[in-house]
Structures are given as structure tokens and as C-alpha cells.
């Protein structure tokens, strides 16, 4: 303790983090503060805001058309998230048990090398009226008219799943990789069927990976706007699109801020949930480690 007080023994470690803290305060917290403040102001005539307290933005937000849009966004987000997780589970399982883990991980990461807009446009080339699927089916003589694949709600969900599946696979793979697969044999030995061993042993043990995967997919999908804009129809608008429109076209910045705040609150709630879960987990591990020491 005394050594800590002498100049030479002082620990300067925390000081190194001050620039980082400053950076985050200025460039992360400040914009959020601006959004919060703007959402309680009056809309300016030609964009911008007037410095006058008003709850107008929030009143507008509760219009029935926006309510519908909000419910749709939530529905599309939930659906895409669930599909992503359901697809990621067998992927993660196969990767964790594979001899070619590095190669498979590499394959998952490859799509990130290409700009997301280009990848979305690739889907237009696949799903469009003159796209790959319709042309193939027409050439096979199975259909005469093009199938309406593009500009639908399904196209939005499909492309959203495509975009965010890697974010679900990676944390689930990490959890699966740490899982002791001999536990599945133990479960089978004790009388569990194959599905029972999955649901009663595998899933509870990779819970943290699934939670992370849900957060990593739910949050970005909830705020997505390029995918519904490019492959969705007129009924595919999501909150993200409204925000973009309010900022660039309608120029109602307070309303855009209010919507942004809703997304932020939802996302923050998710992150807090995740932090809470992992904190409880590590607390449990810490106490057990203490007991282990006491035993030895």
C-alpha cells in the first residue's frame, strides 16, 4: 500500500484510457444528446429546429399509420432474427465439430469484403423479373409470367437474414466451440433421445452465445433501412426508412429524432439485458471458483 503512494510506484495505467474516454464522450454521447434534445423541440420551417419545447414529435409518432409501421418493423425484425438464429444453430454446430473450422470461418467472413449495397443489388439480380430465378424457371417452361419475388415483404426478410446471418453464426459458433460434446453422449446414455439431448443439454449450455446472437441481429435489423428501400415494396417500409425520409425529404428533424430515440431505447434495453446476463454468469463462476479454492 505504501509503495502505491510513492511517485515511482504509482500506477499510471488508467490515464492511458482518458483519450479514449474523451473520444467516446464527444463523438458518441454528444450526438445522442443532440437527438434527445431535438426530439423535444419544434420543427423548423425549412428543416432544422426551433428552440422551443414541444411534445409534437411524440404526439405525431402515435398516429395510427406510424403504429402500423412500428408493429410491422417489430414483426419483420423478430421474424428475421428468429430465422437467423434457427439457421445459425446447425451452422455453428457443424462448424464446431468440423475439421475445417478455419476454412469455414473464412467463408463466413468473405461476404464482408464486399460493400453491402452491392450485395443487396446482387439479390435484385437474382429475384427480379428478369432475374436469375425467373429466367431459369421460364426457360424450363415451368412458368410463363415472372413470379413476383422482388419488392415484397418476403424479399425483405430473405435479404435481411442473408445480411445478418454471419452475426448470428459467429457468437453461436464460439459458444458451441467451448461446449463439451461428450455431454451429448452422456445425455443419450442416460436415456435422452437425440432431440431431448439437444434441447435439455446443448441449448442451455450455449445460452450466452444465443443471447449475443439475438442482440447482434435484432439491433441492426431493427434500424435497417437500405434493405427495405431496395428490395421491399411500398408496404415494406420500416422505422429506419421513416427516419431517413423525415431527415432528407420531409425535413421534420424532431420526429426523426423521436423515432431514433425509440430505436436507441429498444437497443439499449437489449444490451443491458445482455450485460445483466453475463454479469450474473460471471458472478456465479466467481463464487464457484472461490468454493473450488476452499475445497482445495
Amino acid at each position: 500500500m505504501k509503495a502505491g503512494k510513492t511517485l515511482a510506484g504509482r500506477n499510471y495505467g488508467p490515464a492511458y484510457s482518458y483519450p479514449m474516454g474523451l473520444w467516446f464522450t464527444v463523438f458518441f454521447l454528444l450526438p445522442i444528446l443532440i437527438i434527445v434534445v431535438y426530439s423535444f423541440l419544434k420543427k423548423g420551417l425549412h428543416g432544422g429546429v426551433e428552440w422551443d419545447f414541444s411534445l409534437n414529435a411524440y404526439v405525431q409518432m402515435f398516429q395510427s399509420s406510424y403504429a402500423k409501421l412500428f408493429v410491422r418493423t417489430l414483426w419483420v425484425t423478430l421474424l428475421s432474427t428468429i430465422i437467423s438464429i434457427v439457421l445459425a444453430l446447425p451452422c455453428g454446430y457443424a462448424m464446431a465439430r468440423s475439421k475445417y473450422q478455419t476454412l469455414l470461418l473464412f467463408l463466413i467472413i468473405i461476404p464482408f469484403w464486399t460493400n453491402s449495397l452491392i450485395r443487396i443489388n446482387a439479390w435484385i439480380a437474382i429475384l427480379g423479373n428478369e432475374g436469375f430465378i425467373n429466367v431459369t424457371l421460364r426457360n424450363l417452361g415451368l412458368i410463363t409470367d415472372g413470379l413476383p419475388l422482388l419488392y415484397t415483404q418476403s424479399a425483405v426478410v430473405l435479404v435481411l437474414v442473408y445480411m445478418y446471418l454471419p452475426y448470428a453464426i459467429l457468437p453461436i459458433f464460439t459458444a458451441m466451440d467451448k461446449f463439451d460434446f461428450s455431454l451429448l453422449e452422456a445425455a443419450r446414455d442416460l436415456g435422452a433421445t437425440k432431440p431431448q439431448s439437444m434441447f435439455k443439454v446443448l441449448l442451455p449450455n450455449i445460452r450466452s452465445g444465443i443471447v449475443t446472437a439475438v442482440i447482434f441481429t435484432f439491433i441492426p435489423i431493427f434500424g435497417a433501412y437500405t434493405v427495405p428501400l431496395l428490395v421491399g415494396g411500398k408496404d415494406s417500409y420500416m422505422i429506419g426508412n421513416v427516419i431517413v425520409d423525415q431527415v432528407t425529404k420531409v425535413r421534420n428533424w424532431p420526429l426523426a429524432s423521436a423515432f431514433s430515440l425509440v430505436i436507441t431505447v429498444f437497443s439499449t434495453a437489449g444490451v443491458l439485458w445482455m450485460i445483466g446476463t453475463s454479469a450474473r454468469e460471471s458472478a456465479r463462476k466467481k463464487t464457484s471458483a472461490g468454493v473450488q479454492e476452499a475445497v482445495q
Binding site: D180, S182, L183, E185, A186, A187, R188, D189, L190, G191, A192, T193, Q196, K200, V201, P204, N205, R207, R284, K285, S288, A289, V291, Q292, V295, Q296
Partner: protein, 382 residues
């Protein structure tokens, strides 16, 4: 040893001509073993000998390329692991980390959807059996290694299987705990009376608790017998070397004297010992055969004075103590014989009077054993 109070339960296990390869590696090569109801049967061998593969085939985690595995005469190879009358205690315990001790042990019963009162009754019964009362609410990572293994044993027994399969269950524990748990395991076997199949690479574990042992090497069963048979009359050089310590020599049969019905005195020429020795042997050895001869170190007497030659049946060799190793209840001596061969001799310490004068480093000693303490293991060629 088992049997005794408890009625013999469990089932017979017949393994016939089982072979299993992984790629080009022959894990099991035409293995046949039959295990009796209620027997404590050990599969003993070095790592990679196929003992664990055989256990996994019995458990249902692997299926053999050829051969039959039958419980009570019924072939079980088509039956899934979760439907078999066997339960396994795994080497790494394989406890479910997300469940408490109670829920781990209750796991098989919950799958059967028994009433919670029934589950409670049976979990308490089996935690009592393995002496884990007071730990039921803990998570596996709060337990010591020995406690984890007790949970694994209780969990494997609660389904009341006919066969308990134990895959090196004690190998992760320290020596003292290992011997205690081994005795406990034996008494559990006595209480429950089902068939135990115990896989181990530790010959002392196998010798101390097994009714019978199958010694395996390179996918083959070399010998099946009681611990006494395996130790006293090993079938091959490998068995002799793997079980306990021994002195092993190549020898040539020079004379066989079958003077009486009880007297089968064989004379062996052993170049390594620089002379001939006498050994009683009841097999039909013939002069001129190349054989493998063994004498266990504890059967060799070590004395400072030349022992009186009583009859011609005592084999005596002189040498110098090269390395005495004192270990309390016994001493090991590595004796360099006059012709240069190293002979292992173990001397059991008893009491002051019987022990005689202490034998020390560089003492000249006489090593002797009588003809019926040596053993001809196998005929190498005709």
C-alpha cells in the same frame, strides 16, 4: 471381490468376433469375451489397445464393423444408446454444468417423467449411496474431482441399469482418493450386484477389484482370467510385463524330466544368466523349444550368504547390489549378476528378526528362487 450378500442381478454380456477399424487403424481385431451376470469385469491395457472402443460399442456410441454384442443372449447392436440396459461413468465425469447435483442425478428420471415425489425419493437414496448428502444443491463446478465422480456414479446407477460401464473413472484423481473411491466402488458393486465393466490402464486397480480381467493390446484380447491367474500365469510376454514387474528371459529347453505324475522338472538354458535353471512346468514342453521364462522379483530371495542347496530345485545366482531402493514396506534391489545381467529382486520387510541383516549398496548377494516359483510363459517356436 464381489458376490456375497446381494442377489446377483445384471445381465450376461457376450461379445463375439467383434472388429472395428477407424480408417486404417484396427481398434478391435476379432475380440470375443463373455462376461457373467453380476461380475466385476475389467478391460485392462495400455492406451490405444481398444478397451475404450469396446466399452463404447457396448454402450452404443460406436457400432462394430463385424461381430455380435448380446445382453442375456439378445443381440443389442440395433438398439440405440438411450434404449440400452447399460449406463456409463465417463472418464471426464461428463456432468451437465448447467444443472445442480440434484438435477444431474435426477436427469434420467425426469426424462421418464416420474412424479417429483418419486424422483426425490430415489435421488436421496442414491446420493446417500455415494455419500453426497449436503451437496445436492451445488453446481458441478463447485465440487472436487472425487465428488464429481460420485455424482457421475449416482447418475449412472439411478436408472437401475443391468450393466454399469466405467471408462477409466478414477484416472483424473490423485492416488489416495483413487484407492478410496476404488474400495467404495467395489462396495457399491457388492450392494447393487449388477454387472460392472471397468476400463483401466492401471493394473493395480484392475487386480484389486476385478472378478476377472481381460488384458488387451493392439485390439486383441491376450488373456482372460482372474487377477491371480493373470499375475501368476501370464499367457504372453506382454501380459507378464504389463501386469506388475518381472524378470523376463529367452530360454531354450534342454531337458524335460517327467519322472513322476507330479514331477515335471524342466531344465532351461538361459544365455543371459550364463547357465541353466530348473523350473516346474506342467505343459508339454519338449527339449529344443525356444521359450520365454519369467520369475517375479518378489519370488527371488536375496541373502548375504549362499543359501544351502536343498535338492537341485533351487536356482542360485551371485551378484552385486547395484541399486537398493527402500520404500518402507519393501525394498527393491537391482542386482548385477556375475555375468553382467541385471536382476530385479523385491524384499518384503516384515519384522526385525525375520528381516535379517540389512543389505546395502555394493554388497555381494545371492539371489535364489525355487523351481516352482519360475514360470514358462510361452513357447516362441518349436
Amino acid at each position: 471381490m464381489s458376490n456375497g450378500e446381494a442377489a446377483v442381478k445384471g445381465c450376461d454380456i457376450t461379445i463375439e468376433n467383434v472388429s472395428k477399424s477407424f480408417g486404417t487403424f484396427h481398434a478391435l481385431d476379432d475380440v470375443s469375451v463373455s462376461i457373467q451376470k453380476g461380475e466385476f469385469f475389467s478391460l485392462l491395457g495400455p492406451s490405444g489397445c481398444g478397451k475404450t472402443t469396446l466399452l463404447r460399442i457396448i454402450a452404443g456410441f460406436e457400432s462394430p464393423d463385424t461381430g455380435i454384442v448380446a445382453f442375456d443372449g439378445r443381440n443389442i447392436l440395433g438398439i440405440e444408446a438411450n434404449q440400452r440396459q447399460s449406463n456409463t461413468v465417463f472418464q471426464n465425469y461428463a456432468l451437465f454444468p448447467h444443472l445442480s447435483v440434484y438435477e444431474n442425478i435426477a436427469f434420467p428420471l425426469r426424462l421418464k417423467k416420474l412424479s417429483s415425489a418419486e424422483i426425490d425419493r430415489r435421488v436421496m437414496e442414491y446420493t446417500h449411496l455415494v455419500q453426497l448428502e449436503g451437496h445436492v444443491q451445488k453446481k458441478p463446478n463447485q465440487l472436487s474431482g472425487g465428488q464429481k465422480q460420485r455424482v457421475a456414479i449416482a447418475r449412472a446407477l439411478i436408472n437401475e441399469p443391468s450393466v454399469l460401464l466405467l471408462d477409466e473413472p478414477l484416472s483424473a484423481l490423485d492416488a489416495k482418493l483413487r484407492s478410496n473411491l476404488l474400495i467404495e466402488l467395489d462396495s457399491i458393486h457388492d450392494k447393487i450386484g449388477i454387472t460392472f465393466i471397468y476400463v483401466t490402464h492401471d493394473q493395480s486397480e484392475a487386480l484389486s477389484v476385478s472378478d476377472r480381467i481381460a488384458v488387451m493390446n493392439q485390439g486383441k484380447v491376450l488373456q482372460i482370467g482372474t487377477p491371480y491367474e493373470i499375475y501368476e500365469s501370464p499367457a504372453t510376454q506382454f501380459v507378464a510385463k504389463f501386469i506388475g514387474e518381472t524378470n523376463l528371459f529367452d530360454a531354450t529347453v534342454s531337458a524335460c524330466n517327467h519322472s513322476g505324475p507330479e514331477d515335471y522338472m524342466v531344465t532351461l538354458e538361459i544365455p543371459e544368466l550364463g547357465g541353466s535353471i530348473k523350473v516346474t512346468d506342467y505343459d508339454e514342453t519338449k527339449p529344443g523349444q525356444q521359450v520365454s521364462f519369467t520369475v517375479r522379483p518378489e519370488k527371488v530371495r536375496i541373502t548375504l550368504e549362499e543359501p544351502p542347496a536343498i535338492g537341485k530345485e533351487l536356482n542360485v545366482f551371485r551378484g552385486v547390489v547395484e541399486e537398493p531402493v527402500y520404500s518402507g514396506f519393501q525394498s527393491k534391489f537391482y542386482v548385477r549378476l556375475d555375468n553382467g545381467t541385471l536382476l530385479k529382486v523385491f524384499k518384503q520387510h516384515q519384522n526385525y528378526l525375520e528381516d535379517g541383516p540389512e543389505i546395502a549398496w555394493k554388497d555381494t548377494v545371492y539371489c535364489s528362487w525355487s523351481a516352482n516359483d519360475g514360470y514358462i510363459i510361452e513357447v516362441i517356436n518349436q
